[in-house]
Symmetry: none
Amino acid sequence: DALSTLQRWQEDQPDLIILDINLPGTTQLKDGFAICQHIRSQSDVHIILLTVRGEENDIVRGLEAGADDYVLKPFSPRQLVARVQAVMRRGRSGEAASPLAIFSIDGLHFNPKIREVSLSNGQTKSLTSLESRLLEYLMLNAGHILTTDDLISDVWGASGGNSEMLRQLVKRLRAKIEEDPTKPFYIENLPGLGYAFRLKR
Amino acid sequence: DALSTLQRWQEDQPDLIILDINLPGTTQLKDGFAICQHIRSQSDVHIILLTVRGEENDIVRGLEAGADDYVLKPFSPRQLVARVQAVMRRGRSGEAASPLAIFSIDGLHFNPKIREVSLSNGQTKSLTSLESRLLEYLMLNAGHILTTDDLISDVWGASGGNSEMLRQLVKRLRAKIEEDPTKPFYIENLPGLGYAFRLKR
DNA sequence: ACATCCTGTCACAGGTTTGTCACAAGCTTA
DNA sequence: TAAGCTTGTGACAAACCTGTGACAGGATGT
């Protein structure tokens, strides 16, 4: 849990920390991100996050909080070992910039920090808060199908949001980033499943 | 033993290897880890290690040598089956895909994730939700007879569904995947019993 | 106060998917 | 041969999904 994590970290002085974002017993102040940030502020230790698939925007928060890498649950032990080795390999000073500063896929560039997309035709548009959240989630999982529920809970959180609002949001986002919104290129619909950011093949 | 393991691996090209670390007859050069590493260096096949409880740091060595997962002896058959399914489920790359990545039987390729089949003649068709469920269940149990009731309860759940709906669904699925729906090749009917996905012999 | 933007809600259109009905063909059994 | 059962099939209707336009309330800035 949160407290003993910090204690043990100070006692053991490990080279690497694998940190589950969903720490049990985290009180109001100390969630996984806060811990990550706290540790990072005092040390250069390597930190790898464990995140549940479906909550990928935790990743963004985690990397911003100073994590070196992340692994999605469920993961294969082999994958975890590989990530650990990779993180250890790049020295502490490894200038592994947050890889998610800017998304660039298929001529679409998106900077979630300032909520701006630049299209392949040179145009630049600024997105609203919700549109940005949606696009970030989609591009983070480019090529994977995201169910309607996933998207809703990511954009609006566990409580709010419904499929009607999502449809409307998709429409508005497409109006901004698609060349021809009636024939979407980037944001693909999989009937009965959800949406996906399409990867060229 | 070590040598025949490598031989059979090359001959059989299995999808999954369950490897006991304590191989008998391992000479100085070839212990279980070396075998694991050797196989991994040449293939992406899934590897599950069997390790005796009490030597848990074998696990670390094994995972470093490229294994996907491990099972401690003594284990229950049920646990082993669960691990195998989990390993098979997540693709080779370590990405976790929930259903089996792709079924390929007798020239029929089926990706349940995106609900798409590609036929031997090169055509690809997308299936509806129910069609996909049915085909997945059939291919998962290819070569085994599935009773009408089994199929109904798998596709529609415990409550809904009846044999009429199943017949209709089978018809629609056959129309999409069979070359000649009047003479089905893949989906075979066993009068009075149910259906089966036919395996070539 | 006013205009503007963002967001949620309603209503509807078009397409697809699914359930239902009726019936034909094949096999089994009396 | 005649029921009786099972399986395959066509047609149709209901339900569902997705996209869209219009509109209203709230926030924000002038």
